[in-house]
């Protein structure tokens, strides 16, 4: 048997020396190409060298990781063969059965491409052909290679999709990879990503939180209302976060006994919270539901596109998200709290038997969700500069979609925030792409809706009833 811990190493090294050399050679070739192209475009030498070094390091790491995975798989298969568990069946038929989904998907894509090409004259361009070929390749790759990863398959598929989207977008849209666009994508990804922290934790325990958009909207107008009343902005900010946590507490306590209906219940509390906030903020105001006022400068700088982080020209929200993401990812893997969440999501009964308090962690997950929803609302206030209750509405399903696309199972116990980060990036790049090719918000919504299903179908299917009896 192979050593299972070889996959967990920080820097994976294959056991075969030849493979190491092949990997190094591949990385160097790509680095050389990058170096040549970089100097050919006349970029500053320091940048070219920096990027080349980074590319080489990342590529080498990735290749080694893949190689180690393959070696482990091969060792396992060899062990299985030795045990005499060879699958039976006629070869041709078996090949078809193993590949039919992929073949059907590829043929469907081909048919779609031909259909569009035949009907829309503007579609016949070389970039579209390249994009189509890349898509077919990705399909092939996703189906053939993703199976080789025992765990983290969904994250792998997500990464491939992300890569494909970036390639296609940069082909079809001018200025897609420009600094401003990347900054905008990252900024919106930060908002979505922060809102998704709580959703991921709740989903890991098998619940769902649909009150997030309403809390975002309420925090948005509530914060502006408080600062307009003359409350010091930092105090108001903290107060809003505490209120978000309180809403989460209510959600968690109420839904604890109704875990099957947590989705509906949080929708109800969300509606109640949004209504209450609007009533409170419109008392004594002539504009029902609208709050006007000036956003404090530090908050604007925190989230606006022209914000500065320690003198660098990107908004601090991105940095906040990155820090939070690292804390959450590491926290879920290493801390007792993270492990308890997985334990509870995987099997309630066993977790209870080893002494994990279900109530405490369930409620805590909802409290975290409420706090981060409120934080998102406050940051969105800094971004937009004006309070609006509907600012959270797009987050009703995008938080869910990001979690699902990342590959966190809504049944609980499987996935993690790292997967959600991929999901968030996929959604945001896709949004940017759809905006770039001129589709309106309605079409985006339509496509998101259709996107969720195949992503879940790839790795979130329930067992057949035959298997559960």
């Amino acid at each position: 048997m192979s050593q299972p811990e070889s996959r967990m190493q920080l820097f994976p090294i294959p056991r075969s020396v030849a493979l190491i050399w092949v990997n190094i050679a591949l990385s160097l070739i790509v680095a050389a190409i990058g170096l040549g192209v970089g100097f050919g475009q006349g970029m500053p030498a320091q940048q070219v060298i920096l990027f080349t070094v980074i590319t080489t390091a990342v590529l080498l790491w990735l290749l080694n990781y893949v190689a180690v995975s393959f070696e482990t798989r091969a060792a396992e298969r060899a062990a299985m063969l030795a045990a005499g568990q060879e699958p039976q069946g006629r070869p041709a038929r078996q090949v078809w059965r193993e590949n039919r989904v992929m073949v059907i998907a590829m043929l469907a894509l081909l048919a779609l491409y031909l259909l569009v090409t035949a009907t829309v004259p503007e579609f016949r361009s070389i970039t579209n052909l390249i994009a189509f070929l890349v898509l077919e390749l990705i399909l092939l790759f996703a189906f053939k290679v993703s199976g080789k990863f025992a765990s983290g398959r969904s994250a792998f598929v997500g990464l491939i999709v992300l890569l494909a989207l970036i390639i296609i977008s940069s082909f079809t849209i001018d200025g897609f990879l420009s600094g401003n666009n990347v900054k905008a994508i990252l900024l919106f990804a930060s908002f979505l990503g922060i809102a998704c922290i709580g959703q991921t934790m709740v989903a890991l325990m098998g619940g769902l939180d649909l009150s997030i958009p309403f809390v975002i909207g309420s925090a948005n107008i509530g914060l502006l209302f408080l600062t307009t009343l003359g409350v010091p902005s930092f105090v108001a900010f903290g107060f809003i976060l505490i209120l978000g946590g309180l809403i989460g507490l209510v959600n968690g306590l109420l839904s604890y006994k109704l875990q099957g209906q947590a989705l509906i219940l949080t929708l109800g509390t969300g509606f109640a919270v949004a209504g209450l906030t609007q009533i409170l903020t419109s008392i004594g105001s002539a504009y029902g539901g609208n709050v006007f006022g000036t956003v404090p400068g530090w908050l604007s700088n925190l989230a606006a596109m022209n914000g500065k982080t320690f003198g660098l020209s990107f908004p601090p929200t991105i940095l906040i998200w990155i820090v939070l993401a690292i804390i959450v990812i590491v926290g879920l893997r290493k801390t007792a709290y993270g492990r308890y969440i997985y334990a509870l999501g995987g099997n309630r009964r066993s977790a209870r038997l080893i002494g994990v308090s279900e109530l405490r962690w369930w409620v805590l997950a909802y409290v975290i969700s409420g706090v981060f929803a409120a934080l998102t609302g406050a940051l969105l206030l800094g971004w937009s500069g004006g309070g609006f209750i509907g600012v959270g509405d797009p987050y009703l399903f995008t938080t869910l979609a990001a979690v699902v696309i990342g590959g966190t199972s809504l049944l609980g116990g499987n996935g993690g925030y790292g997967a959600t980060v991929i999901g968030v990036l996929v959604l945001q790049v896709l949004t940017s792409f759809l905006l770039g090719i001129g589709l309106s918000y309605e079409w985006q919504q339509f496509i998101f809706g259709l996107l969720i299903l195949p992503m879940v179908a790839l790795y979130g299917r329930s067992p057949h009833i035959r298997a559960t009896v």
């Binding site: 209450l276 029902g288 009896v469």
Partner: protein
Amino acid sequence: MSERASNPSTYLLVPILLIAVLLATATIRAPNLVSMSGFGSAIIVAAPLIFATYALMVLAVAGRGTVDLSVGPLLAFINVSVVQLNTAGIITSPLAVFIVALGIGVLYQLLFAAIVIWVRVQPIIVALSGFLALTGINLVILPRPGGLAPEFMQSWGLGTTIFSPVLLIILIATAAWLLFTLSPFYSNLRMMGYDERAAWTSGVRINIVRIGAHVIAGLFTGLGALCYTALISSGDPTQGTNMTLTAVTAVVLGGVSLSGGRGGAAGALLGALNLYLIGYVLATFNFGAIQAFVTQMSYGIILVLSLLLTLLVPVISRHVSFISPWSAFVVLGSVVVAIMLHIAGRGSFAPAEAIADRAPTLSRYLLTEPASAGLPALSVSPFQTFVFLAVAGLLSLVFAARLINAEARARRMGLFLYIFVALLLTGLFLAVTLQPDATLFGGAAP
């Protein structure tokens, strides 16, 4: 004892109680609810919600935690499709409109069922996906509210009479569902919803049953969309989300279990009517600019409370299992009808009383001059009146309590109750229709 506690109609106690309170409040605060046009428009406004709730109810009974969040957007989708097809002049005849509306509903639900059965994705994900996709595509089909409803529907939404085609559609659909509940297919459906594995192992063809449930839900949604089109006589792509939330609240309030196996048309109907009446009652309090927020908040709170109530009902029903919901319905119904009759008749009785005030008590009721010497004992003192009224009240209370208690063991309404309900309804109908409109609203008769 356990079978008593699990009596599903105990869940109806809460909506029945609520609807009595709401109806009484609505009648008192807005008396013109009790008239032909009042009831007529109430039925038409509530019809789409009732159908959306029915659709959700059927799917919830089918189990697997199917809460079809996409029911609102689907309704709006059918609405805008019919309106756009009609505006383009492609489909205008009643038959074609019905076929298109019901067909879209059924097709969508068939797709839904196919994904749930064969792709084996959780229904809630499919519903979310459908919600997003349909909300998007609705705005593409019809960017802003507008368009024209089919010609034959124009008169449906006026609400000047109770007997509109909308009421007919509701009655037929409800009757069809009640007939359906007599069939073995319905038993299979409930069994599958309650425990899918048990149903499968005992030979129920669960795929076919699930498809059947979705088809029925699609039909209900199609009918709801038609009623909605008749109500607003145009297309509106934006109301789907609200409709979904209200319908989900109504289903939960109506005692339908979201985890499957329990629910019925009575509960769904009561839940939908409750939700409509809550909106109606709230609208009678003038909150001014914050009206919409108050409504939003109340819906949210009611949804949460009714979910929490489903936890409490088993506990409550253990202690009040001697109360039959149906009899409680009849008793509370008679109280509400009495209030309605009083409110409706107020205008016509008030002048008569003013005239008769000068006459002695007995002549006012008997309309003949009593022999003053012969009946001295009948001139009652206030104390005697109070005693008589108290005894009468006590007697009717005892009668009501006995009735409720006796009916609690029966699974269905007794014949007596049917006759009683029919009499009550006839009385209300007569009172509303036979009186001229002028007296209804308190105006002086010419």
